[in-house]
């Protein structure tokens, strides 16, 4: 079954930004590089390494699981927050260890009380699915979820919501605005995801890649 595989490019979808840069750095360490991608002036959307028969493209984070689930990319690298929020049918094969942060429930200190009882409260978040799962299935608290697309910290400040569910790295934005972490939902980091069909059809190549990465990352 190899005739086709020789022609088949292993395609990576990388979440734009820091995540992609860090991923490329690590891939380079294990001997996979993409010179085309280093050219910052390039307007190309897809970058190819002919020698290794690999393709790379950058995509907006939440789209990465979509590309991988539908098989347009064999492999994706994206934050665990996106994996949870999108909840797509993909295999999660590796914790890349970087991009570490936490998904938290945040708000003014006064809101802490609201989380103690099963009161109905308003929650603003960019991650409605994660927020819903946390409050409904873990805390068993009924909440109204309001989806926002950015600057979620504003929610409690302008009385749009009682608390927010958002990613916390250093917590400085929170502090500057008189908010604090009230509860931790889960730790986050960059994950490698794989399309289930690719996993079967390209087992040897993907396995080789993941084992090398595992060795490099020391796990």
């Amino acid at each position: 079954m190899n005739s086709f595989n020789d022609e088949h490019y292993l395609t990576f979808a990388l979440g734009k930004g820091r995540l992609a840069n860090k991923t490329l750095e690590i891939l380079e360490q294990i001997g996979i590089s993409c010179e085309e991608m280093k050219d910052k002036n390039s307007r190309k959307l897809i970058f190819v390494n002919e020698e290794l028969k690999m393709k790379f493209f950058l995509a907006k984070g939440p789209d990465v699981p979509t590309y991988v689930e539908l098989g347009s990319a064999d492999i994706g690298v994206v934050g665990y927050d996106t994996v949870l929020e999108e909840n797509r049918n993909v295999y999660e094969v590796l914790d890349l260890g970087f991009g570490k942060c936490r998904m938290c429930v945040c708000g003014p200190a006064s809101a802490r009380e609201l989380l103690q009882h099963h009161e109905r409260i308003r929650v603003a978040s960019k991650y409605p699915n994660i927020a819903r799962d946390y409050f409904y299935n873990k805390k068993h608290q009924t909440v109204d979820i309001i989806k926002l697309n950015g600057s979620v910290e504003l929610g409690p400040l302008v009385q749009l919501s009682d608390v927010i569910v958002d990613i916390v790295e250093t917590g400085s934005t929170l502090r500057e605005n008189g908010l604090e972490v009230l509860e931790e939902v889960c730790p986050l980091s960059a994950r490698m995801i794989v399309n289930p069909v690719s996993m079967q059809m390209e087992k040897a190549r993907i396995r080789d890649l993941v084992l090398k990465l595992r060795e490099y990352l020391g796990r």
């Binding site: 086709f4 088949h8 295999y91 794989v194 069909v197 595992r214």
Partner: protein, 380 residues
């Protein structure tokens, strides 16, 4: 003109012209193949009582079912797959039958999946179920049929992965896991989510060496592709019996001459409690999910009052069509011959008709067309 009238709802579509011809042809040749193995076609209703597809029986979450009510207030469901319907039929019409029953089906299935994810809500499935035959030869027949079917439609690159759910169940029993942990773990492993599995086993305080053994099943990169590796890992009768069975199956598949397309994956599990033995999936390039799924379900018919073993598979025709298109493989179809006649000319029609008649009897596809006055055309 009301433009809105022209649209179909999201997730359903019209299939016409060449595409539909291809689909029909493909279905026809698959049907011929399945019939040649002695299967009889059966037609079940498009909608049935909710209970037929309920949580204990079906593999589609209740929220993804299309549900509606009849005038008595019963909840009805558009079938999300065929197996429960076939099981119901077999239990109803073959209650006393002890000999093997071979049934096949083709029809559309409906799942109310989320919007904007590029997935169809109405899919054509074709499949076969072999009831009353617990043998490993029956398992082999199903898998061989799947391989032959995929070869027949013209796919060259595909793979059938085979697992055995009893192996994992045996390991869980050996480790003394409670039912909830087993279910949760199965969900993690079927999603190949190694970290979640690891976390779960730590959280539930599963003892070594069981933790490591179970994690090996979850870890698809040390995954047990060889049956021998899997045998080394298990120390309980249930798991070992599962391996014995797979080895016998391997021999049967060798007899069928389909071993080139087979691989084993004991980490392949189903989220659902539905399968009781062998389980298999077929994959090919160009489609993001398995194009064929199947397995043995020995307890399903019991739910309908007939205790009988069964094994079956379902092919998603629309996915096969897509895979063929993406792989630029043509499923060969016969061309339509065009015969023209001049409506104004005496004898032209009769002449053309006679020719067409002959060609049709030879099995050719012929369309008769009138030449319009203004345009010149080839006369028959």
């Amino acid at each position: 003109m009301n433009q809105k009238l022209l649209h179909t709802p999201e997730g359903v579509r019209d299939i016409y012209g060449k595409e539909y011809a291809k689909k029909r042809k493909l279905e026809g040749s698959l049907r011929t193949l399945i019939e040649s193995f002695g299967y009889e076609e059966i037609q079940t209703p498009t909608f049935e009582f909710f209970d037929v597809f309920s949580r204990e029986i079906g593999t589609t979450p209740s929220k993804d079912l299309y549900k509606f009510f009849d005038k008595e207030g019963n909840t009805l469901v558009l079938r999300p797959d065929f197996t429960p319907s076939i099981a119901r039929c077999a239990a109803k019409y073959f209650r006393e039958e002890k000999a093997p029953i071979r049934l096949s089906y083709k029809g559309n299935t409906f799942t109310n999946t989320s919007n904007l994810q590029g997935k169809l809500k109405e899919l054509t499935q074709m499949g076969a179920e072999l009831i009353n035959d617990p043998s490993v030869e029956a398992d082999g027949e199903m898998i061989a049929l799947v391989v032959e079917a995929l070869k027949k439609v013209g796919l060259k690159e595909f793979q059938v992965s085979i697992g055995q759910v009893e192996y994992f169940k045996g390991l869980c029993q050996e480790a003394g896991l409670d039912e909830e942990t087993e279910l949760d773990l199965r969900a993690c492993i079927s999603g190949k989510n190694f970290f979640a599995a690891q976390e779960l086993l730590n959280e539930r305080n599963v003892a070594e060496p069981y933790r490591e053994t179970l994690l090996k099943v979850a870890d698809l990169f040390n995954s047990m592709t060889s049956l021998n590796d899997a045998r080394q890992l298990a120390h309980n009768e249930r798991s070992l019996a599962a391996i014995d069975r797979l080895e016998k199956l391997d021999h049967v598949l060798e007899c069928y001459g389909v071993k080139d397309y087979i691989s084993y994956d004991l980490g392949m599990l189903s989220k659902y409690n539905y399968y009781t033995g062998v389980i298999f999936k077929a994959y090919t390039f160009g489609v993001g999910n398995a194009v064929v799924t199947g397995g043995r379900y020995n307890s399903l018919l019991g739910r309908f009052g007939k205790s009988a073993p069964a094994v079956g598979f379902a092919i998603v025709i629309d996915d096969i069509m897509e895979a063929l298109a993406r792989q630029k493989t043509e499923f060969s179809e016969e061309e339509i011959l065009k015969l023209y006649y001049h409506p104004e000319e005496e004898g032209s029609f009769a002449n053309a008709l006679e020719k067409a008649h002959h060609l049709r009897q030879e099995g050719k596809r012929v369309a008769l067309l009138a030449v319009e006055k203004t345009m010149g055309g080839e006369q028959a």
